[in-house]
């Protein structure tokens, strides 16, 4: 059965909780279009999210959805994937959920290269709790817990994911949503751990204390700062300072995937034990 996008939404749960101008819904929409385009089956598709603005998307999507605890979407997804390898498991998380409280799970999921797709909505702030700084808040910007300007350096999450062992690493923005949708599709199709950072604006909690402040201006600034990987390669670190490098940043199709490797090892051991028992029976 071909699904329509409306069929992937719990319409009775709408309107959603996101603020006007929020970028989370834009990327969530791209994710749903990716699910439709890939023809994923509803019964075999599981969405796992943590806690935060982006994680609330799970409550509106009519697939198998798990709204887990703060920071732990990835280990829950790991349990689901290992128990039911035939499922397509997608994790929706944010910069606080996925890179602060859940940071350890992120790097270990990358290292295992388990076949999950992690879409990290990076709005660079804790939106739901009222605008506290996150591990990706830009230096100098104001947050409710950085009233004098953020002085902690931020993570580059894509470099983190690549270094930790993820085999598909990409970055898109809400501003260039067609590109982001394509990256999500590629990520879901990739066998191994796919990490997609989606840069989204939060005008309510980030914009209003910083510049640009308005939703449209934030999106336009995002678009202006975006630069492809190939173009970025020609720029100096100084010139790249304010840029958002987008596209597929890293891909490796050779590294063994975790669940399949486990299944092979397990089948090998069972075959060996079976042979030994058969030999003993003959004796």
């Amino acid at each position: 059965m071909t699904l329509e996008i409306e069929q992937l939404l719990h319409r009775e749960r709408l309107p959603h909780i996101w603020c006007a101008g929020c970028g989370v819904g834009i990327v969530a929409g791209a994710f749903l279009r990716a699910v439709l385009d890939l023809g994923l089956k509803r019964e075999n598709t599981v969405v796992v999210s943590g806690i935060g603005c982006s994680s609330r998307a799970a409550g509106y999507i009519d697939l198998n959805t798990v709204h887990a605890i703060h920071g732990r979407a990835l280990p829950v997804a790991t349990g689901i994937k290992m128990a039911r390898p035939e499922f397509t498991v997608i994790v929706l998380t944010g910069d606080g959920d996925g890179a602060a409280i859940g940071g350890n799970h992120l790097i270990h999921s990358c290292r295992r290269n388990i076949d999950l797709t992690c879409i990290l909505f990076n709005n660079q702030i804790y939106g739901m709790t009222g605008g506290q700084f996150s591990p990706t808040t830009e230096p100098g910007d104001i947050a409710t817990t950085a009233p004098y300007g953020q002085f902690e350096p931020p993570f580059d999450l894509c470099r983190l994911a690549e270094a930790a062992g993820a085999t598909f690493v990409a970055r898109g923005t809400a501003a260039n949503i067609r590109q982001t949708e394509k990256l999500i599709k590629q990520g879901i199709q990739h066998c191994g751990f796919s990490f997609i950072e989606a840069v989204v604006p939060c005008p309510t909690e980030y914009g209003r204390r910083n510049k640009p402040a308005k939703a449209v201006d934030m999106l336009e600034a995002e678009r202006a700062r975006s630069i492809s990987k190939t173009k970025a390669a020609r720029l100096s670190p100084e010139e790249l300072r304010d840029k958002i490098v987008t596209g597929v940043l890293y891909e490796d199709t050779q590294k063994p995937e975790f669940q399949r490797t486990y299944a092979e090892v397990s089948a090998g051991v069972r075959a060996q034990v079976g042979r030994r028992f058969a030999e003993e029976d003959e004796k």
Binding site: H67, P75, V76, V265
Partner: protein, 392 residues
């Protein structure tokens, strides 16, 4: 690695009796009860459970994953449980502390899983290689909010086998996490182990059956139908207050009902959940109420007392929570003293006192130095109490 007489049937049939470690008997019980998913993180004195699972589960066609910490371990178990698996993890105090938030989530989303806590002495790192019963109240109230808890306590190797099976059964039946408490001594000692030994200690509870694979006949009674991922229902699962559809609700009436139902599905089934054994029933002025490794000393003390012409009663508890109110009050009505030996500062004695002090004097015997309470120590305390009474 020492030879391990594993689940794989052929090896086991050759052995009518095994000399086996408590932690490994726990694995045997889990496999016999149908556990095919284990996620864990190494920690003394529980690591042998994880090592045996790493060896056995691939052979049994199950899944074993070593996770990055205990939080990830229990979360992976919850993920597996949401697909319909029975999942298990094992840990000790520090890891049990890390798991608490996720235990609350498992209760909230009604995910069946078994958590084995092989207790070590003390808060924090404490003494990893010494026994303790210091996590009893944490097992009851460790996660935040009002919640139900099923907590069992193993006192020997046979218990590690059969109470793990009971834990699996209860987890499936009541769709909630079940904690099995052991301690360093029960987990790491070796004892002979056979079908006969498993059956030797009587458990008193309704119609409990330890046959592998046995399911309680009314497994769905009063427990909500589970939402299983991939079952065709494409459910939504959340730790927010939710109604029977699975979706969040802020409706005061619905949230109140949800919480009370969750609590009562355990509280209203004490008759089925409370496993215990009474020895020397109705004989003697003193009853030793004991669980875990202290119950071993209590049983030995009872035999010693018998030789010395002193009659004592034993109430050996296998289920600590839900509180076995009925049996404790029944015994409290007929004895003058209840002695409760514990390797903590009186955590469970406090619970018993609340239920029993209107009928009897509840006396705690506590040790927190990392050694066991000996039978002689218990007996001396009884003699002292009875003597004191007689001299009055």
């Amino acid at each position: 690695m020492e030879p391990w007489h594993g689940h794989l049937l052929k090896e086991r049939v050759d052995q009518s009796s095994l000399l086996i470690q408590g932690n490994r008997a726990c694995v045997l019980g889990a496999l016999d009860a149908g556990v095919r998913f284990y996620a864990g993180y190494p920690i003394t004195p529980s690591s042998e459970i994880m090592e045996a699972m790493a060896f056995e589960l691939p052979r049994a066609g199950g899944v074993f994953v070593q996770m990055e910490d205990e939080i990830a371990s229990i979360c992976a178990c919850i993920g597996a449980a949401l697909t319909g698996e029975v999942a298990m993890t094992a840990t000790s105090g520090p890891g049990f502390s890390l798991m608490q938030e996720a235990i609350g989530y498992a209760i909230m989303v009604e995910a069946p899983l078994v958590i084995v806590n092989v207790m070590r002495a003390g808060p924090s790192t404490g003494r990893p290689t010494a026994p303790s019963q210091g996590d009893v109240m944490q097992a009851r109230w460790g996660t935040h909010g009002d919640h139900p808890a099923i907590v069992l306590a193993a006192s020997n190797v046979a218990d590690m086998y059969r109470l793990t099976m009971a834990a699996v059964r209860f987890a499936l039946r009541f769709r909630t996490p079940v904690t099995l408490l052991a301690d360093q001594v029960v987990g790491q000692m070796r004892e002979s182990f056979s079908e006969e030994l498993i059956g030797r200690y009587r458990l008193t509870s309704g119609d409990f059956d330890f046959t592998p694979g046995y399911l309680h006949p009314d497994v769905a009674r009063e427990v909500r139908r589970p939402h299983i991922l991939g079952s065709g229902e494409h459910p939504h699962v959340t730790g927010l207050f939710h109604d029977e559809t699975g979706f969040p609700t802020n409706d005061p009436e619905k949230t109140d009902k949800f919480l009370r139902d969750l609590y009562n599905k355990v509280a209203h089934h004490r008759d089925e959940l409370c496993l215990y054994d009474v020895k020397n029933e109705g004989n003697g002025r003193v009853c030793i109420v004991a669980y875990g490794s202290c119950a071993r000393s209590a049983r030995a003390a009872w035999r010693l007392a018998d030789q010395e012409g002193l009659s004592v009663e034993i109430l050996h508890l296998y289920t600590l929570f839900p509180l076995p109110v009925e049996i404790i009050q029944k015994v409290a009505r007929r004895v003058e003293f209840m002695i409760i030996p514990e390797l903590n500062l009186g955590q469970y004695a406090h619970e018993v006192r609340k239920m029993a002090e209107q009928w009897t004097t509840v006396i705690g015997m506590n040790k927190t130095d990392g050694t066991l309470i000996t039978p002689r120590e218990i007996l001396d305390r009884i003699a002292e109490l009875v003597g004191k009474y007689e001299s009055v």
